[in-house]
Amino acid sequence: MRRLLAVVIVVLALASSAAAFAIDPLPFKDAAQRDRFQNLTRDLRCMVCQDESLLSSNADFAKQLRRQIFDMMQQGKSDRQIKDWLVARYSTFILYDPPLAPSTIVLWFGTPAVLVAGGIVVIVLLRRRTRPADAIAEDAGDDW
């Protein structure tokens, strides 16, 4: 039983390490650069498999862009420059963190606007309810 458990653990460990190395190993200068690369590519969309990030995707497209981003980092390009380079080719759709622009106003402010509107409705309803008892009979607003 113990041996079986050991085998299972070893198999699981191998499987997880295999998954970890499914992403092509890139020769980073140091851990800081690797972290910067991972943070950057985590926020970028793999255009082929749209719900995956460039960091996690195994698509050919993602591999190629990871390589290009890595190369740009070696050339000393900033995150901003790399993102601009990508946006010029693939539009802001490639960013998981969309910039504030006319086309994204609903995205940015839609939810807070609905929240505020809902809050106003709740406040109005609550105020009506706390009216004196004789006023409640007049109020058709709370009979549903």
Partner: protein, 188 residues
């Protein structure tokens, strides 16, 4: 029931809210039916096509650059022998190659030249010229992320239109041909 007589509108509020939700659901469903989520508008439309210099499929020692293709509008069709949807598109290209009125240039994407040559031999070659991008690096400059994709590039090298996915007779008639006619009217 007195209140109802006085404030009939309040009575219908739930119904109105429900109707509004229903409209949202139906519109959302309908929109999803004919909306292609993988379609991303290209930021390159209206901008110059990226500079490129790629080997010809027929003569890999010879190169074709963007400058070589300037002067006349052309269609650049990104395809690959490994691309399943390109096989779907291919009969349409064969049927329309002479009807576009402008040159159809093939862009063999991340493919081996031999596989591309075999594929064209088997299915027919609709292209006036085929250029090959084995690494796919130039394709990134074009904003390619999947094949097939088709670019309409005018005589000055400006990208005027892009279609992602297979060209169909319907797409050609409704979207592509009006754009080609537009170029003809401009006389570019």
């Amino acid at each position: 029931m007195n209140e109802v007589a006085r404030k009939p509108v309040a009575r219908f509020v739930p119904l109105i809210v429900f109707a509004a939700l229903l409209v949202f659901f139906v519109v959302g469903l309908a929109w999803n039916q004919d909306h292609n989520a993988s379609f991303v508008p290209s930021p390159l439309i209206g901008k110059p096509a990226p500079a490129f210099r790629l080997p010809r499929l027929a003569h890999p020692a010879q190169f074709v650059s963007k400058a070589d293709l300037l002067g006349k509008p052309y269609l650049l069709n990104v395809f690959a022998s490994w691309c399943f949807a390109c096989g779907d598109e291919h009969p349409t290209l064969m049927a329309y190659r002479d009807k576009f009125g402008i040159a159809l240039i093939g862009y063999d994407y991340k493919d081996t030249p031999q596989a591309a040559r075999d594929w064209l031999q088997r299915h027919g070659d609709p292209y006036r010229e085929v250029i090959t991008d084995q690494s796919g690096d130039t394709a990134i400059d074009f904003g390619v992320y999947g094949a097939p994709e088709t670019y309409l590039i005018d005589a000055k090298g400006i990208i005027r239109y892009k279609h992602i996915g297979p060209l169909t007779p319907d797409v050609i008639a409704k979207r592509l041909e009006p754009k080609i006619r537009e170029l003809e009217r401009e006389g570019t």
